[in-house]
């Protein structure tokens, strides 16, 4: 711990508010990076993730393989996309509970339409449109009628779930070649490693999200709303529009996630993805985004998903846990993780 040497000699030229940069040592800057509300949690999460991965590798044979890591992406592709959409919403201080149900709905729509012979070229865009529109409705409900996001999206969740049943109570499997292709195709990366096309899509989504949030006016407005909606409004920012669009984005991402999920399971099932919204939210928050909005990064959320994923993986590798110990174990790992994260990011007083 280094201290800041009091700068005694007055600098005649400089005004009375010296630049902090001028009075910071390297150590301080590192500490700042970790303790700053912006970057801190993400960095720590990254480090902890690596640590967990290493420990797992030490504990189980065949764990420390590249494929295990890649499978985190393969298996959680849809969840990553959800988390990305959720990040937008949470950054504005909102929340979206409908995502899980919307995933299921997209699956049902895809399965039923494909079953009745529609072409994927039509189905997929259609799904994305439908879910985006659903998001739009939610957004308008939140903005115009000032309904709290929690309820508005909960209603959307009921609706989506309900529509699933309306479409069909049975699970519908998908045999349509394109989808099957997406499901089974493996893109080799050499060394026996491989990923699915979904992973590629996910990476693209992440890239776009990062760009939007950090290099577009819209993206910065999202942060602004999280920092203070009223202030943002008084600063003349398009608060209303942005707030609505954020839910459209979340809706779109849910739709896309639904499609990826369908690639993954090759079926539509009304009961699928129950409780996934919690996973998504958890991932985002673990990734260092504040639920109150304003602080957080997409990459953080991605890390969050990977963390949840690796906890799952460890469980299956452990393989000896009864149903209840499984749950206790997950809770425990989660706890250890967030406490470490908290301790490492907390400011020294």
């Amino acid at each position: 711990m280094s201290t800041i040497a009091p700068e005694r000699a007055p600098r005649p030229d400089a005004p009375f508010v010296p630049r902090p940069a001028a009075r910071r040592s390297v150590l301080d800057r590192v500490r700042d990076a970790f303790t700053s509300p912006k970057s801190g949690p993400v960095l720590v999460t990254a480090i902890l993730f690596v640590a967990v991965f290493a420990i797992g590798g030490a504990r189980y044979p065949a764990f420390l393989s590249g494929q295990v890591f890649l499978n985190l992406f393969v298996d959680n592709a849809y969840l990553i996309v959800l988390a990305v959409g959720m990040t937008f919403v949470i950054l504005t201080g909102g929340i979206d509970l409908s995502v899980g149900a919307v995933v299921a709905l997209s699956g049902m729509i895809a399965a039923s339409l494909l079953q009745s012979g529609w072409s994927p070229g039509v189905v997929i865009p259609l799904i994305l449109v439908i879910t985006s529109v659903l998001g739009l409705l939610v957004g308008l409900m939140i903005h115009i009628f000032e309904v709290q996001p929690f309820i508005a999206t909960l209603a959307a969740m009921f609706l989506a779930r309900g529509l699933c049943y309306v479409i069909s109570q049975n699970s519908i499997s998908i045999t349509e070649p394109t989808f099957v292709a997406f499901a089974v195709t493996r893109i080799p990366l050499g060394g026996g490693l491989s990923i699915t096309p979904s992973v590629v899509i996910v990476l693209v989504v992440i890239a776009i999200a990062v760009w939007v949030l950090h290099y577009t006016r819209f993206g910065r407005t999202v942060y602004a709303i999280g920092g203070g909606e009223h202030s943002g409004m008084l600063m003349g920012l398009p608060v209303a529009r942005t707030k609505v669009i954020v839910y459209v984005i979340s809706g779109f991402c849910s739709g896309l996630a639904g499609v990826l999920f369908t690639f993954y399971t090759l079926s539509g099932y009304p009961l699928s993805a129950i409780g996934t919204e919690l996973d998504a939210i958890a991932a985002v928050v673990i990734g260092g985004t504040l639920l109150t909005g304003g602080f957080g990064f997409v990459l953080g959320s991605v890390l969050g998903v990977l963390v949840l994923g690796i906890i799952q993986t460890i469980i299956t590798f452990e393989g000896t846990l009864s149903s209840w110990w499984t749950r206790i174990f997950i809770g425990g790992l989660l706890l250890v993780f967030i406490i470490l994260q908290k301790v490492l990011t907390s400011r020294r007083r």
Binding site: T3, P10, F16, P18, K38, A224, G227, G228, S231
Partner: protein, 553 residues
């Protein structure tokens, strides 16, 4: 009784046509008629000011003009054509740039973004961060503000933030620039910088609305005044044609005389006080915090008013926060009150020792917006008693009533949500909260920020009579005259350490300004202090302990 009938003064020769023309505008909120058929106009190349007591309706006019509030009746015209803005964004597009009362910026974003947001320079469709920072830095230097544009806004003091807000407004090349109490926590230097900028804009034919409760500033910069009282128009005047006395009279509808002798009384008491030897009340040795305040020895006598003077960012607030237990001091744990050692690690502990700190940032750290005036006033007292010993309703009532009266809070409704009060009235409520715990040491950081002259005098009188009854006061204000008028002793801070401590007898503004400006005193080990009696040792910059010095350099 309102002389609205009075003929308006002539339009300026250069620009005979008003750019903004509000006619018979009315706005009412549940329970309040905030504006009652008020007319108001602005001319290009003129600095116009809205004058009025707290709650008179100044901010409301501004919010009506910029579309924050819809208007119930009346018309708004821009360049002769009627307009009605859906919101600030709309108004901005129409060329009206506004700095609203209270800082409305985003603490989670960088200074640069707060200045440029919505107008970011872009390259290939994506924000050009480098250019943005550069532009921001330019604007900051224009206001002689040397801070890192990349730093988080939240890390800056209120004054710094206020300047940033101004920087944002002047960056838009607007035809109308609206500044609602932009100088409330700026000191002379920044105000001077601001005025320099305003004058240049004025040259370019920009119409500027400048709201302030500082008459000196008004008379220095404005050409035209519109006076409001209780949401009604009193009249429009040319500044040079209106004597201060008349202005005040028109604002508060009272003769200035009353105020006048009041200030005399305050001055007298001030002089009497000085001779009496004051027993030391608070003694803190080596009080300091890494990175903010270098260790200092502070002594405050009973019934003594110590003024903290210094420039923006000089560390007054932070020293005050240490004394108030808001921030935890990492050196100088040894604080004695009335001889007994106490720990000031949390506000709670401080309050239990009857030490009250009233924050300069009333919106973030002061008022609880969604609670009523009553709850806000009793909050600290109640918190100190503990939740299971509620203050009896009757007691609550009298407390609230009495403070609403003494501080003249408008509307005088204990059940009004504080959020809906005007800026100045919120400040009064905050003050009431601290007075309610009958503090023995009252630390006031910019307590008169945004408060009208009438109320300001009231507050000063109040503080003074309390001091006479033995309450110690630490007083911070950007208005240097105020500090001089109120304090027995003045401690001067510069660049986060103490540079001087002077007995205030007949100290003049210029002398003090000189002391604030030149920090040469820093290097000398012992600080010149006029004070002689021992039991109230002067404030001195103690030598930092090795641990404070050694590493890090």
């Amino acid at each position: 009784m309102l002389d609205t009938a009075q003929a308006r003064p002539p339009a300026p020769a250069a620009h005979p046509e008003p750019i903004v023309e509000m006619t018979d505008v009315s706005i009412s909120f549940p329970g309040v008629k905030a504006l009652d058929r008020v007319s108001f106009r602005m001319f290009p190349g003129e600095v116009h000011s809205l004058m009025g007591e707290n709650g008179a309706g100044k901010s409301t006019i501004i919010k009506a003009l910029t579309g924050v509030y819809g208007i119930d009746e009346g018309t708004i015209a821009l360049n002769g054509s009627p307009v009605s803005f859906a919101g600030p964004a709309h108004a901005q597009d129409a060329g009206i740039a506004t700095v609203y009362q209270e800082v409305n910026l985003l603490p989670n974003l960088s200074v640069a973004e707060n200045i440029m947001l919505g107008r970011e320079p872009r390259r290939f469709g994506s924000i050009h961060w480098k250019a943005m920072r550069a532009r921001a830095a330019e604007l900051l230097t224009q206001l002689r503000l040397d801070i890192d544009p990349g730093s988080l806004l939240g890390s800056h003091s209120l004054a710094v933030q206020q300047l940033i807000a101004i920087a944002r407004a002047i960056d838009v090349d607007a035809r109308v620039l609206v500044l609602d109490e932009p100088t409330s926590s700026l000191d002379a230097d920044e105000v001077a910088e601001l005025f320099r900028v305003i004058r240049t804009l004025k040259e370019d034919g920009v119409a500027i609305l400048f709201v302030s409760h500082f008459l000196d500033q008004i008379y220095e910069i404005t050409d035209r005044l519109t006076v409001l009282r209780n949401g009604q128009l009193v009249g429009e005047y040319l500044t040079e044609e209106l004597l201060r006395i008349d202005l005040v009279q028109k604002m508060i509808g009272k003769e200035l005389a009353t105020l006048d002798d009041l200030e005399k009384r305050v001055k007298q008491t001030a002089n009497e006080e000085d001779d009496a030897a004051v027993p030391a009340f608070v003694v803190a040795t080596g009080l300091g915090k890494r990175g903010t305040i270098d260790p200092v020895d502070v002594t405050i006598g009973e019934g003594e008013v110590v003024g903290l003077a210094g420039l923006l960012g000089s560390g007054r607030t932070e020293l005050a926060r240490l004394l108030g237990g808001i921030d935890r001091a990492d050196s100088g744990a040894d604080v004695r009150i009335g001889g007994k050692p106490v720990r000031l690690r949390t506000p709670r502990q401080a309050i239990s020792k009857r030490i009250a700190y009233s924050s300069e940032n009333r919106r973030e750290e002061g008022i609880i917006g969604d609670l009523t005036v009553r709850d806000n006033i009793i909050l600290a007292l109640q918190a100190d008693r503990g939740w299971f010993r509620p203050i009896p309703k009757k007691r609550q009532e009298e407390l609230t009533r009495s403070y609403i009266e003494t501080l003249n809070v408008r509307p005088a409704n204990p059940d009004a949500l504080v959020r809906n009060l005007s800026g100045g009235n919120q400040q009064k409520v905050l003050l009431a909260r601290w007075l309610a715990i009958a503090p023995r040491l009252l630390i006031l950081d910019e307590p008169t920020r945004g408060i009208d002259i009438g109320a300001k005098a009231e507050i000063q009188k109040l503080v003074y009579s309390l001091a006479e009854n033995g309450m110690s006061v630490v007083f911070i204000s950007a208005e240097i005259e105020e500090v001089l008028r109120l304090s027995h002793r003045i401690a001067v801070m510069r660049d986060r350490h103490l540079v001087a401590d002077i007995e205030n007898d007949g100290l003049t503004v210029d002398e003090l300004l000189a002391l604030i400006a030149d920090g040469s005193a820093v290097d000398e080990p012992d600080i010149p202090t006029v004070r002689t009696d021992d039991d109230a040792v002067a404030v001195t910059a103690s030598h930092a302990s090795p641990s404070q010095r050694g590493d890090g350099a």
